[in-house]
Symmetry: C2
Subunit: 490 residues, 2 copies
């Protein structure tokens, strides 16, 4: 896309001025329409060092009220960020509905930089490109407008700019080692950038190459492209998105009504096994901490199925410095205003840590589906989006374990009634629990579909038969310890 | 407090067991009462390395539902955290109303560590202690229960534990360089810890020294002290807090009705001055970025006074990589559930950056006061709390600039009507603006009190006469550039 490209030439100065004025006004007028329609906009500024991405962002944002945008510069990754999965620092930055985010370089800069410096081999690099394509597609599928600009300047121009900046002590700090490196290896960079742009140029989030030899002209190209992009996105808002076929390897799972629930365990055996398994888990936790393996454990299940007690038997065996339990309630306004996976991306553990989710991202295909909190297109698309999300975790090296805690309808009724009778447990039962119970059959259908469609080899579901809670606890501990041992062997 | 202290001795094992059981049950029962009463609890675990803070936390949290607590281990500061003001990483951790946070070492560990390693001189250390006392008092004054535990073991015991841990490869990683250093310099550490404990032992957040020679006994001491603390805090919930006298140097300020609003500027002079000042500011921004000076600019003022346009003239001159504008709306639920300064502490700039707040923490003494969103005791206390907050910023080295954008009532009416007539501006005017206007006199009184009580020498208010918006913009730019120049000279 870059090589042999004839760049659009700068118009005469009178025309430039008039068009700039018009484009600025257009952007100013669009911000409120955007707000009303709840359209979130991500503007990614990539390109050559010293091409003027930062100062162009500075110009563009002057046409937007500060309440409606945020501009972020992604600097060198912190040690903490390095211990998080790829893309999570970018996912964390996505804007709320109706707002803009401007990113001064992002995931392109990260992966092309690693590739150029020999830190990603061919296969790893292709995996990253896959991840990026999925990431951008998930954003646009979920109603985000993603505008990607590449600021292009020639080798000669870059050299001149670096020299000019270095001359003055007040500007010299703006030139970093990478700018100089790029200029020295311009052809090599061109090759890598070009390939990247080709491979990530999708119809729903295409690249725009900006001729950045002149500052004002670059600004105009960005403004005109951006405002046009917004116009189109506003027109397309109501469109449904094609459902993608599953491409991930699935595990065959039983339907809930095929699961026999009469399993149980003797008190004596329970105590002994529990002690043995917890000791083993304690040990494994130490080892995976040192080996820096991240672990994600997801709990879903019927109300009163015994999720809480089950989680407790896991955490009892863990060092509190190395795990976190995330109880997931209905989303807060700033969470609801973003991609539904945002609040999970931002709660992922760092390497060596365990994150346990008490309810999860599967709310999308259960409560959100059944209560109509999202559209049919939304939840139908979610199976694949979730498989992609968990693929990202698995590729990062995480052990992903998903539990469905299963009981039958009668057992639930017994437990609800018991809770209502016991003062110390009354807070655990609400009207909502009773309402959900009425929808048991619809939920069962949704759960069956969910388990069939999202039980991948890299992140399978495990059913915990929990009519006898003790049996379920031992089973969970056994699965966790086995999966961790496997990961430590690898 | 540590030296020559006779530690409470471990009870016989039968008694210990019975008391443990009772204390665990008590904590389990308390969590819902806590939730109902919205009491937030901070449990700080400090003490000698290898004294068992982490594993005790691990035990205690098993008696609380994961929805109601978070346990955080504060590890080595990241580079980013080092560029934030003292205490901000701890302020970020405070829990929501009705929930617990357990911190495995915190601000005591940080400052005593620096002191022991010669990185804080006597004066700096005393300043830190002042900051800590104010921080803890602000928390308890605002309804937080702060429980501080110091885990005490003898030199001999520590030595034994270090050796035991080092023997086994699975536990050796738990011993860090600091543990060994402490054991070698035990007496010196004792001296510093003791002084710290004395100096921060306040009636509202006293220290509890835990005899940590035995694990179970330590757990019991924490559980019994914690549950007793909660009991008392629940009884005291409705108490008002004494108002502290102002101890910070104040600047004499005029009342709003003494301010002459007939200042204006000619179009020609405006353009010329604007260009000159923005150029100067651009320059200064570069220099303060390199010198790592943080800047906080706060905007308050009447609706339609011209805050937005004023801010814009500042940001036009800034590199977008070095500033952020924070538009402050009414707090979200998770913000409302915390200390009212929390959402500002977590939005502070890092060194070298500029944060501009469009509306601020002064909402506490204006809208929250007038709309009854907080109690009279709350807002009366807030003047001092805010002075303390800004003192923290100033001590950190920040330039703190506060603007009150002033217009008269007639000018506001004109602008409101203009907004209503202009389609592109209608979104800027809401019913709430009209309702606020009706309370002009009450607001004026509150603003007068606020300006008198919070105009400190280190963070003074500046009045921007904004009937002529151009005059106000030039004045703001002049003040900002002057303050920055001053800071760069220092």
């Amino acid at each position: 896309m870059l090589k042999n490209r004839r760049m659009e030439e700068k118009p005469p100065s009178e025309e430039l001025k008039a068009r700039l004025k018009a484009a600025r006004q257009k952007l100013w007028n669009q911000q409120m329409v955007l707000k009303e329609h709840g359209l979130p906009v991500i503007v990614l500024m990539e390109g050559w060092g010293t091409a003027g991405k930062g100062s162009c962002t500075g110009q563009v944002i002057q046409n937007i009220d500060p309440r409606f945008f945020r501009a972020a510069t992604l600097e060198k990754m912190t040690e903490e960020e390095k211990r998080k999965p790829f893309l999570s620092r970018y996912f964390a930055q996505i804007p709320e509905a109706g707002k803009f985010v401007f990113l001064d370089s992002g995931w392109m800069d990260e992966v092309t930089g690693l590739r150029l410096h020999g830190k990603l081999n061919g296969k790893e690099y292709e995996m990253r490109l896959d991840s990026i394509r999925r990431f951008e597609r998930q954003l646009t599928d979920n109603g985000y407008l993603v505008m990607k600009f590449f600021f292009h300047i020639s080798k000669k121009e870059q050299k001149k700019r670096i020299e000019n900046l270095l001359e003055n002590i007040d500007t010299a700090w703006r030139v970093n080692a990478n700018d100089k490196w790029q200029n020295k290896h311009y052809a090599e960079c061109m090759e890598v950038f070009d390939y990247y742009l080709e491979m990530t140029n999708s119809p729903s989030s295409p690249w725009y190459i900006v001729n950045a030899e002149s500052r004002k002209w670059a600004e105009l190209q960005v403004l005109e492209t951006l405002t046009e992009g917004i116009e189109i996105a506003l027109q397309n808002k109501a469109l449904a998105v094609p459902l993608l076929q599953n491409v991930f390897p699935l595990v065959k799972m039983p339907r809930l009504d095929e699961i026999s629930l009469d399993r149980s365990v003797e008190e004596g055996e329970y105590k002994e096994e529990m002690e043995r398994l917890q000791k083993r888990l304690r040990d494994l936790h130490n080892r995976l901490y040192r080996k820096r393996v991240p672990v994600v454990i997801a709990y879903e299940g019927w109300d009163a199925a015994g999720k809480g007690g089950n989680i407790k038997r896991i955490t009892e065996a863990l060092d509190p410095r190395g795990f976190e339990v995330h109880p997931i309630a209905s989303p807060e306004p700033h969470e609801k205003a973003r991609h539904y996976l945002w609040r999970f991306w931002t709660r992922l553990p760092k390497t060596g840590h365990i994150a346990i989710f008490d309810r999860t991202w599967y709310g999308r295909v259960m409560v959100e589906r059944l209560e109509g909190f999202c559209s049919e297109n939304d939840w139908k698309r979610a199976y694949n989006e979730i498989n992609e999300f968990e693929k990202e975790l698995a590729d990062w090296g995480a052990v992903v374990i998903k539990f469905w805690v299963q009981i039958d309808k009668d057992t639930q009724l017994e437990r609800f009634e018991m809770r209502q009778k016991t003062p110390a447990k009354q807070w655990k039962i609400t009207d909502e629990d009773w309402r959900n119970r009425e929808k048991w059959d619809a939920y069962e259908e949704a759960v069956n579909e969910m388990i069939q469609k999202t039980s991948t080899t890299y992140a399978p579901w495990y059913i915990l038969e929990s009519v006898d809670k003790k049996y379920a606890r031992l089973k969970a501990l056994r699965i966790v310890t086995e999966r961790l041992e496997e990961a430590l062997k690898a």
